[in-house]
Amino acid sequence: MSDASTATATSATSEPAPALAAMPRAGWHVATVVATRQETAKAARLELDVDGWPGNAAGQHLDLRLTAPDGYTVTRSYSIASSGPGTRVVLAVDKLPDGEVSPFLVDEVRVGDRLEVHGPLGAFFVWRPVDRGAVRAAGDGAGGAASALRARPVQLIAGGSGIVPLFAMATAHAEARDLTPFRMLYSVRTPDDLFFAEELMALAAASDVFRLDLVYTRRTPDGWPNLAGRVTRAALAAAVLPATERPIVYVCGSTGFVERVASWLIELGHDARDIRTERFGGI
């Protein structure tokens, strides 16, 4: 992260803004595929080793560029499922039936392949663990400052493959042993469509401060207490941290999912400024 202070701006009058100054500098890198595995029936997990990658914050994304032998190129943005320093980057890619890039990444890419990536990107849809040193330092001084620095609770709300950046946040939270209350509401079609199923169950089982609520929209596991169906406003109200606790809410999914959830959150009293959204479109 030290290179943020020496980052070169694109014009003489411009300086990196505060949110960006804290981020590793984005650039083009060569990524080598070091592992692939099936994530769900339609999705693959790709583990990359990215030459020169400066690390990334939880929730950031990257652009991935493919080049055909005739020079044709195509670029797509993918959320990153991993975070922290180092050059390992994990992606989880859902195969879109008519897609041009996702079927290639899911069906064709194998260990040893090289891909071009640009990143890390985005400084808004990110979560960072509480800097406990800063809290202690503030606590040594004025009493009020410590509570001001204490992180707000976090509510994560994922629809389908929108889980990817939110999984990065939940993992970063656990790895930092951060005590900020974290809740995740994750809506998927069927049990077979769960991304990071084992990891999420393990996170929820191991932690008192991370809670996972699952909603199945088409088919539930055997013995599941609720019927299959979309997240409703009532279900949302029951599962998310109440507005009175002032959570920061991260919502990621299809446009329709995000629009529905975000408008219900407003109706439930959450401040629009506390709701951060990331939508994925149809291409």
């Binding site: 980052a7 032998p69 041009e100 392949d113 090289r114 629009e259 479109g281």
Partner: protein, 197 residues
């Protein structure tokens, strides 16, 4: 440093020269927003331009709709790699709105309902390059696409076309708006791929 990706043929691609580099043709209309969609009633809507002298020019919906309206057919390009070709809009030209505005300043911060901002050079808004649009494809603009009215600056990446726009504030120097503070380029020309810092 570009190299050929093993196994990638780019099956069935047709290169359309109206597409800037790194863009893919979209047939739907994807949405890029940082937060929830604000609901704005045209009865309460107002648009204003504020200058360095403290002068404020403002229009309510009725006054705004009485201004000359232009039809705009244009391609639009989102930084998230999709483009939409031949979109049709109706709106009021920024040239019309700036007719009586006197300013020495060369930069503008666009402000939106919901608190979002984006910075632009005045040169990128005048001479038939930008509009406040309220209709898309013959229909009132959907709230999720910026209705009741959004800025339309089609020669720049589409995050510059601020949704739910409520005003422009003249600036003496260029300063980053919301997405620009969060990683997007200060200017945003799609033909130069000015995506990120």
């Amino acid at each position: 440093m570009s190299f050929i990706t093993r196994g990638f043929s780019g099956r069935g691609h047709e290169r359309d020269e109206r597409l800037p580099p790194g863009q893919t043709l979209a047939h739907d209309f994807p949405v890029l927003s940082a937060g929830p969609t604000p609901e704005i009633d045209t009865a309460e809507w107002e648009f204003s331009i504020a200058t360095e002298t403290g002068g404020v020019h403002s229009w309510n919906w009725e006054q705004f709709m009485a201004l000359p309206i232009e039809e705009v057919d244009t391609d639009i390009h989102c930084v998230t790699h999709w483009s939409k070709l031949g979109t049709s809009w109706r709106g009021v030209s920024l040239d019309t709105l700036f007719e009586d505005v006197e300013t020495q300043y060369e930069y503008v911060m666009a402000h939106s309902y919901g608190g979002y901002t984006t910075n632009l050079a005045l040169d990128d808004l005048l001479d038939g390059k930008a509009w406040i649009a309220f209709e898309f494809d013959g229909e009132p603009l959907d709230p999720e696409h910026g209705g009741p009215a959004r800025l339309l600056v089609p020669h720049l990446y589409f995050w510059k076309s601020a949704k739910w726009v409520r005003g422009l504030v003249m600036m003496g120097e260029d300063e980053p708006g919301f997405w620009e503070q969060n990683g997007y380029h200060l200017h945003g020309d799609p033909w130069k791929e000015e995506r990120y810092w």
